[in-house]
Amino acid sequence: MAGFDKVVASYDEAMAGLEDGMTVIAGGFGLCGIPEGLIAQIKCQGTRDLTVVSNNCGVDGFGLGVLLEDQQISKMVASYVGENALFEQQLLSGELEVELTPQGTLAEKMRAGGAGIPAFYTATGVGTPVAEGKETRNINGRDYLLEPSITGDFAIVKAWKADRYGNCIYRHTAMNFNPMAATAGQITVLEVEEIVELGELEPSQIHTPGIYIDRVIKGEFEKRIEKITTQAATL
C-alpha cells in the first residue's frame, strides 16, 4: 500500500486500533445505508465500553443492535431508538446511557465536528429537555441553544462505490448520515459495495472526497429492510 491507496484486504485491518472506551460514529438511517461488515467486525473483536453515535441503534439482532447483545455499548447518542427491545431493556436497567439528540442537531454536530467547528447555535430544542445544562443565547430576538459538535475516534461509513483513494458515492437514500459521519472520524473506515478504477467516478459527482477516508474495504451486504411497503399492500 502506497501513496493514497486506502484499500485494505481484511476486516481486522479495517478496524485495527479500535480500543475499549472509544467513540464510534456510524452512518445509516434505520437499517438503510449501514456498514454491516464493520459492525460485525466490532462484534467479533469484542471491543467494550463504546460510545456509539448514530441516528438509530439498529433493531434486535441486526445493525448496531448486535453490539447490545454482549453489552459492548455503554453510551448511545441517537435521535430515535424505538425499534429495539434490548435497547430499552438495557436503558431501563441502567447498563446503557443514552443521549437523545434531535435528528437535525445530530447531523449538524457531525458536520460541524468534521469541519473544525466546535459548537453552533440552533433554535431546535429551546424550552425542551434537550436544553437542560446548555447555554442559551438570544440572537436578533430569538433564543438559541449552544450545541457542541461531535468527533469520533472512529467513523464507520457505508457507500455504494469508491475508488482506491476513497472518493465515493452513495446510492439513493442510503446516503443519509454517511457523508457527515465520514468527515468526523479520527480514523474513517469506508465499507463499499464496489471498488472501481481511478477515474471511473466523475470528479464533480463525488459525494465524499477521499481526503476524509482512511481505509476502504469491499463488503457483502444483506440490506435488510425494516418495513416493506408496496402499492399492493396499500390497496
Binding site: 438511517f29 431508538v81 424550552g127 425542551t128 437514500t173 418495513k227 411497503t229
Partner: protein, 219 residues
C-alpha cells in the same frame, strides 16, 4: 360524529397550496398525501434525505436503499432530489419547507407541543420532530381531541416534556379546526354533527368560540 383518520387527513389536505414543499409526519399526517386536491402540485420532503417522495413501490421496484423517514420502502417522484441528512435539516431549519404536518400527545394554548416522550413509559426519541417544529413557519398539528380516557389533549399548559415552544398555530382534531393565537384556542370549525358545547367540554385550555364558527366541509 367525530372525524375518521382519513377525514382529518382530507381536511388537512385542503390547507395545501400549489407549489408547497411539505413535510408529513408519521400516522395521520402520512395519509394527507392521498388527498392532495386536484389541480395543485405539492412536493413531499422526507427528512432522511428525499425531496419529491413518490408512492410506495410495486413489489418488483422495492429497493432497500430507497426509504422514507418512517423507514418504509418508497419511490422517488419524477423531479425528486436526494441528499444527506445535514442538507435535509438545512432545508427544515432554514425555513424552506412551506408546511409541516405532525401528530402530538398534547398541545397547549400558548402553542407549545409535546409529542415525543412519556416519562417512565416510552423511550423512543424525538427523531426530527424538534427540528421540524423549530424550523417551520407553518405547522398543522393533527391528533384526536381527547385521549382514550376522554381527557383533553388541548391544555392550558402541556404536562409532558415539550417538543417545541410557541410553535403551533393550527390544530385539526377529530372534532374541530382550531387556531392558536394570543394565548388561547380559537374554534373556527366544528366537525359535521359535533356541537360547540361538545368541543368546549373536551377542551381543557382557554377556548374562544369564533362568531364565524362553521361546520367543516371537505370540498
Amino acid at each position: 360524529m367525530a372525524l375518521t383518520r382519513e377525514q382529518i387527513a382530507k381536511r388537512v389536505a385542503m390547507e395545501l397550496q400549489d407549489g408547497y414543499y411539505v413535510n408529513l409526519g408519521i400516522g395521520i399526517p402520512t395519509l394527507v398525501a392521498n388527498y392532495v386536491p386536484e389541480g395543485i402540485e405539492v412536493m413531499l420532503q422526507s427528512e432522511n434525505g428525499l425531496l419529491g417522495m413518490g408512492p410506495y413501490p410495486s413489489e418488483s421496484q422495492v429497493d432497500a436503499d430507497m426509504i422514507n423517514a418512517g423507514k418504509e420502502t418508497v419511490t422517488a417522484a419524477k423531479g425528486a432530489a436526494i441528499f444527506n441528512s445535514a442538507e435535509s435539516f438545512a432545508m427544515i431549519r432554514g425555513g424552506h419547507v412551506d408546511l409541516t404536518v405532525l401528530g402530538a400527545f398534547e398541545v397547549d394554548q400558548n402553542g407549545n407541543i409535546a409529542s415525543w416522550m412519556i416519562p417512565n413509559k416510552l423511550v423512543k426519541g424525538m427523531g426530527g420532530a424538534m427540528d421540524l417544529v423549530a424550523g417551520a413557519k407553518n405547522i398543522i398539528c393533527t391528533m384526536t381531541h381527547a385521549n382514550k380516557h376522554g381527557e383533553s389533549k388541548l391544555l392550558t399548559e402541556c404536562s409532558l416534556p415539550l417538543t417545541g415552544v410557541g410553535c403551533i398555530n393550527k390544530v385539526i382534531t377529530d372534532l374541530a379546526l382550531i387556531e392558536i393565537k394570543d394565548g388561547a384556542f380559537h374554534l373556527l370549525e366544528c366537525a359535521p354533527g359535533v356541537t360547540v358545547s361538545e368541543i368546549q367540554e373536551r377542551t381543557a385550555g382557554n377556548l374562544i368560540v369564533s362568531k364565524k364558527v362553521k361546520t367543516m366541509s371537505f370540498a
